[in-house]
Symmetry: C2
């Protein structure tokens, strides 16, 4: 059975977005500072990675069978225009199916009965592959429900000062992690991967 993981690019002071959704140009420099073109299913999203960064990013995508996202991230991206850049099935945890969906994107499923159900649905779709969980709020919910196996952090060399923290409203803290299982210092980012140790 595949892993359930969350992955995010985080500033050194712990934010996945600066104030008013700023700072993405700084956080995501590593998405565009190389020569390796990584195909994106969404024409609005382009990846040009260094060889090292592609060596982390490409296997992550290839090993991922489905995604679970929160309604906030879905709305923020406009449902990725109906197709996620990773070209994977997306399970959206939401109390209400947004207007016009799922007709606007065939690879989208809307689940209203909780994080356990959303992850179970994604696991089924993923077959034996991994399930990726985003963003921070939904990852926190996954942690509370003891469903999250691994946390992948792409640590960006920037201080954002304020904004949206990776894990917010984490009631089950403190929580020990195992690792980093891997450390890779690449251009404009340091990749760290941890396993969650539930008490």
């Amino acid at each position: 059975m595949g892993k359930v993981y969350t992955a995010a690019t985080v500033s050194l002071d712990g934010f996945i977005a600066g104030p008013d959704e700023s700072g993405f140009d700084r956080l995501f420099r590593w998405y565009g500072n190389g020569d390796v073109e990584v195909p994106s299913a969404n024409p609005d999203v382009q990846f040009r990675l260094t060889k090292e960064n592609a060596g982390v990013f490409v296997p992550m995508i290839e090993n991922t069978g489905a995604l679970v996202v929160g309604r906030r991230l879905f709305d923020l991206t406009g449902g990725w225009g109906g197709r996620h850049p990773m070209d994977r099935h997306v399970v959206v945890l939401t109390h209400s199916v947004p207007e016009g969906w799922p007709e606007k994107g065939e690879n989208f499923t809307f689940v209203g009965d909780g994080i356990e159900s959303a992850v179970a649905t994604a696991r089924e779709i993923a077959g034996g592959r991994d399930v990726g969980v985003n963003g921070g709020t939904i990852a926190s919910q996954c942690l509370e429900a003891r469903l999250l196996d691994e946390i992948w952090v792409a640590l960006a060399p920037v201080l954002l000062g304020a904004g949206r923290p990776y894990f917010d409203e984490l009631r089950s803290a403190p929580l020990d992690l195992e690792g980093p299982l891997t450390v890779l210092d690449a251009k404009d980012v340091t990749h760290l991967r941890y396993r969650v140790r539930y008490p």
Copy 2:
């Protein structure tokens, strides 16, 4: 001339202390998980480091000539009983000299006229060696005043959920960093060192 740096052990979610000053047992596992005894000038503070961690910690202390700390950290530690564990002169930035001091600790200087003055005083005491700046609030002040050269993070594999962030009230963000200049993955901690790039 030596560097001005700040160093802290930080949780993966960006906190140097959990709620109500908790979490230190988890953050500072690396202070006591090895066989290398590192002398402390303060009998209440013991360091037993792994060889790798000592290889980061000992040179940091040896290269440091003086420290600048805020009044909050000074009060929280009770002025380290009059002698800092690193056995270095401590410059305390405070509006008022606390009662009984500096008589209680001869290696303490109290500076009331701002962060520039505190750092200049510490630089003079340090001779050509480095100046260490702690904790987060005073390090933020140092950043605002463009006095901080480097940020050293000892990243602990734990989520604290809430608490005291490393850099708080950072008004000059976003701020780009250079690095990590060094990465060392050791037992219960990953050491990362960054240089500040002022715009």
